[in-house]
Symmetry: C2
């Protein structure tokens, strides 16, 4: 691990079903958590439809900007699965049936059951490496800095776990959450002052409502444990003061 | 309603907490469902961090491309709430305390309680219209084709409902779901042929796994009820045939 290097990522979700609201995305949140644990900063999530030129444009914009890209969706056996072709176009490479991918599918689909539709899942852009995984014989693949994963969560997770050990990681973002027991508007001004005094930490304020009323979670994040502890101490002191003020 | 006009939209979620995986986004799925019901095509969702230049770039890219943009998050009372300033920069306008927004806040925050932090919520870009809503005295706002909503789901939903009647809508996308009772790979080839014969419909195939094993939902979408019914009839006939084939 190179402590000076920040490793970044983007997630590109491909699928009309998320944009129509029919399917609720759980993949991006799962990937976000894994990347944060690993010391990779997820900087952007995009959801685009099953539309080849749109996928190509998004891929090319994202892969130029971030260390790693993870796509999910569109690598199944039906006509609406167009991710592999879009990735090949984005990289300007050809695409064909990959012998290892065909062989893997043949292990479970015998004779006529390895039909034209299922064989589509073995079409892999040239120069890509397969992402062999435990959940599915149909592989994902990686090409350049782009990792192409399935859309079905269980399969996507298995593919992600298969590639995770290959990823470069940076210093982990440390995070602590403090329940303010105060309304966001009552801590806003002093919290902003603490943020200014501690540029090495990032302080987030997240209001919520529960049965007791309005409350706020304060999340302090930093790659430095010392910087985080120093900011936390100030936030806690501030909260004690605010509580006195509010109850007065 | 102009039947010839397709109305499009994008959702821009603003917040480090979604990218870190700490908060799971439910807002984009909710907005997606509402837009689909209304006859507005959601074409893109983006999630970006609390980083002003990034928000400005994303806003300018999206507002040039789609009919409507909906942002959520970053309009609260704390230092990490920077959406209003980013929107003002994207539109090249100034920003200041909006008298109506200040007056609304004063209705619930009396005396010192309407402090500097809470007053931040009344800072509105010049030329924007307030989105007054039932869930919060702090308003959202609309400027050009951009609608700036809160991040807290209950408040966001109230703001969305307040602006929904003002939106132009297009012909609704009709949708029907057929449970295939077949594996995706077994219907892929004939389904692709039906898609080719019915260019006015969009056929999506969504595999899933339940206690009975693998299965597939086929979703047919079209703005034409007749086109949808014609494609549906062919899909149903195909499924009867596939079932015979599979059981033979």
């Amino acid at each position: 691990m190179d402590n000076s290097k920040i490793v970044t990522a983007a997630v590109l979700l491909i699928g009309d079903e998320i944009l129509s609201g029919r399917t609720k995305d759980a993949n991006s949140g799962w990937i976000a958590e894994r990347l944060t644990e690993m010391g990779i900063d997820l900087k952007e999530i995009r959801v685009v439809p099953d539309d080849e030129p749109v996928i190509v444009d998004a891929l090319n914009a994202l892969r130029a900007r971030y260390t790693y890209i993870f796509t999910t969706g569109g690598i199944g056996p039906t006509h609406d699965d167009i991710t592999a072709d879009a990735v090949a176009k984005a990289f300007g490479v050809g695409i064909d049936y990959h012998p290892e991918a065909v062989a893997a599918l043949r292990e479970i689909f015998h004779g006529d059951r390895l039909n034209e539709a299922r064989l589509r899942m073995a079409r892999i852009p040239f120069t890509a490496d397969l992402i062999v995984n435990e959940a599915s014989k149909a592989p994902g693949f990686r090409i350049g800095n782009v990792h192409v994963l399935a859309g079905v969560p269980k399969v996507m997770q298995s593919m992600f776990r298969a590639v995770a050990p290959l990823l470069e990681t940076g210093p982990k973002m440390l995070s602590e959450t403090i329940l303010a027991n105060a309304k966001e508007g009552d801590v806003g001004t002093p919290l902003g002052e603490i943020q200014k005094r501690h540029p090495d930490v990032s302080i987030g304020s997240y209001p919520f409502q529960d049965e007791k009323g309005y409350n706020t979670n304060l999340v302090i994040r930093s790659r430095s444990a010392d910087a985080l502890a120093a900011a936390r101490a100030e936030v806690e002191t501030m909260l004690e003061h605010v509580k006195v003020t509010v109850s007065a």
